[in-house]
Symmetry: C2
Subunit: 244 residues, 2 copies
Amino acid sequence: MLAPDIIRTKCSDCPIRHRAVCSRCDTDELATLERIKTYKSFEAGDTILLRGDPLEYVGSVVRGVATLNKTMEDGRTQMVGMLFPSDFIGRPGRSEIDYDVMAVTNVTLCCFRRGPFERMIATTPHISERLMEMALDELDAARDWMVLLGRKTAREKIATFVEMLVRRQHMDKVAASNGTLVLPLTRDEIADYIGLTLETVSRQLNAMKKEGILRFAGRSRFEVADLAALHGATGDDADGGPIY
Amino acid sequence: MLAPDIIRTKCSDCPIRHRAVCSRCDTDELATLERIKTYKSFEAGDTILLRGDPLEYVGSVVRGVATLNKTMEDGRTQMVGMLFPSDFIGRPGRSEIDYDVMAVTNVTLCCFRRGPFERMIATTPHISERLMEMALDELDAARDWMVLLGRKTAREKIATFVEMLVRRQHMDKVAASNGTLVLPLTRDEIADYIGLTLETVSRQLNAMKKEGILRFAGRSRFEVADLAALHGATGDDADGGPIY
DNA sequence: CGCTTCCTTGAGTAAATTCAAGACTTGTGG
DNA sequence: CCACAAGTCTTGAATTTACTCAAGGAAGCG
């Protein structure tokens, strides 16, 4: 773990203030959270939590990207979630989790010790309601991903994955300076997320490059040259498309 | 919808009393629920809810099995959940759902109108806490299924599916008279649940029959002749196995 | 008993995987 | 600032798994 470079940002200045688990808290509630929060930082590649570990902390991703990974007995792995800024790690009332949480970029977390946080939830509807809402959002996302994993072709999987990245980075303004987007995962990690092999991911990504749908600038920076074509390749409904 | 054949079972006599959303309610709370509940019945094949429909009711499955289905533009479908007795339909704070809910057997639901129920949640921690717990259980199940869909072989998928059925029916005592289990889904529906085609499902099921792992009595009744072999075929950890 | 629906089985095909070799990035140290 | 090493990525060829297409057979319902 790195030394935190956000030492103690005020909640009111926090970049995820309006979307995280605390988004509906009033000034008093925020003051209470302010007292019990701590920041933790992780370097790209670090393990944030290991499957089965006792869950001492819960918290929000403030910066960076983390992934939730499940590994089978024989080493096959499936990523079951990607966490962007404002996403929550850990669950109320559970003492452990059934997947590993990994930092895929440098990550800063806003953490609360589980005990005090759970006591606060019990008396703070603004938090418990938001937590429920976030859990249901995660459930919806998991089910959408089940369609991807079970029924989509390699090409559709890639297109859906890229579209999801665009949507999340647009939201977070991780998007950086120009219109360029960041590809926070390696080919191998993408493969684990969408249920393919890294070779197939590479082939499909290059096919979309050749077709002029994507444009790459180095390994991990790219932009979408043809958003409509990208959406067309997802296999999703024409209506339900991306709204910016 | 059928005429309900449970007209007004008392909550205290309800078969799912100890596992459903109301499981932690005290006598007073139960009395309140008793007043606002209504039973609805559906025949096998009926649509319980359609994607995008305004969600007027929420409720628990009392008897029967329902499925959650997503359909792509071109007709490909992926089942994203199976609901057994005690499972909850609908979500607090959401006015619609993004999948169809179908009755695959005859189904009886214990329903509450969404408005009154949500008002009750707000003042009844015994319910809101249980709802949160159930949402997190569903999320865990969805993520386990993502591993199945993304990384398991046809044989592992079938074995995992059958093991899940055994576990749920053991729990519900749907298991009926003898040790026989019910296969509530057709080959086609199973295929939609585990991301295969019906032919592949049929082949794998028959392979397990020939190997003496499963024994069939007609189309939809079967028993597991070799539970250890079944679990061995799931690809899951030797430890995390079924506990009866 | 006959019809409909669901299931089985086979043969050929297609999509993605595996195996393998080589090329590009990126970061580090000289 | 360049060269090198390590890690990533690309591409091709062969293989495999599951899919598609097709026909026939069993179950279950009326």
